[in-house]
Amino acid sequence: MTLAFDFLLALSLLWSGWRTLAAPRLDRAIVLFIVFGLLMSLAWARLSAPDIGLAEAAIGAGLTGALLLDAYGVLRRRRAEP
């Protein structure tokens, strides 16, 4: 059972990583990056490193994701202005 979960987790990590890089739209790529970060923190927890998992969820997915979303918002507003 856990082996199936780990296998699924590894597959979805690879899939979300690939989708993040290949997404044609920036907003989708950012959301997929956040998904990747959350899956990554799950993977750290499964590797019995919950400390790194917490840091990854808070900094990697949360803060970096918010920074990227904000940057996207600025880009879109700048494009709309002129």
């Binding site: 400390d51 917490l54 840091a55 900094i59 803060l63 920074l67 600025v74």
Partner: protein, 216 residues
């Protein structure tokens, strides 16, 4: 033709890496036993916190210094410009922000306290606090920061300064950041509290100082 070659090379590389991973031997240095043996003297009962703040405290000291330096670089690059007024978001989002922020502060405090005996610690707590500030900024309740005033400057540097002060006060113990076992727990909690405040301000500052020039 070229695509096929690239795919073949990439696949070969993947298999090579996977093979290398499978052949990894046991680590040359195993520090788990010494860490566990001295855990009682470290002042905390969670091995990761013991390593980060006691055995290798100077790593953490330099880490907070690097983060502070990164923020100073951003301040130097952004220069002086007035904070742009934040535009209010949808009322539902604002209410959600108001509801989530107290919860996030509670979670951050818990993470800081829990760091002594289970996963948690100053970095995670600081990141959660910074995320709360970013959330408030995104829903328009917290304006972007302009040139930092005295209080903000003190807050940004407090964690590093406190850590340095403890390190300087303990120099008589023999080596850098060698805590006396009786006071280690209290000292680590003191340092972590300072680190949490400064990390929250620094990480939020990466966001809030940069966001002010979007109107320009």
């Amino acid at each position: 033709m070229v695509v096929g070659l690239v795919v073949t090379l990439a696949l070969a590389f993947v298999f090579l890496m996977a093979g290398a991973m499978l052949e990894l031997g046991p680590a040359a240095i195993d520090l788990r036993a010494p860490v566990a043996a001295h855990l009682a003297d470290s002042g905390v009962s969670h091995p990761v916190t013991a390593v980060l703040l006691n055995y290798r405290g100077y790593d953490t000291l330099l880490e907070i210094a690097v983060l502070l330096l990164a923020l100073l670089a951003i301040l130097a690059v952004v220069g002086e410009s007035p904070a742009s007024p934040s535009h209010a978001a949808h009322p539902v989002l604002q209410t959600l922000g108001r509801l989530a922020t107290p919860l996030m502060i509670v979670v951050a405090t818990y993470l800081l306290w829990a760091g002594a005996f289970r996963p948690g610690g100053a970095f995670q707590a600081g990141a959660v606090l910074a995320a709360a500030a970013v959330l408030l900024h995104l829903v328009g309740l917290l304006p972007g920061w302009s040139t930092p005033g005295l209080r903000l400057r003190i807050g940004l540097a407090a964690g590093f300064a406190l850590f340095l002060a403890v390190a300087a006060a303990l120099l008589t113990q023999g080596s850098l950041l060698q805590y006396p076992p009786a006071a280690a727990g209290a000292l680590i909690l003191l340092i972590e509290s300072g680190l949490t405040v400064s990390l929250a301000l620094i990480l939020a500052g990466l966001f809030l100082f940069l966001s002010r020039e979007e109107g320009a």
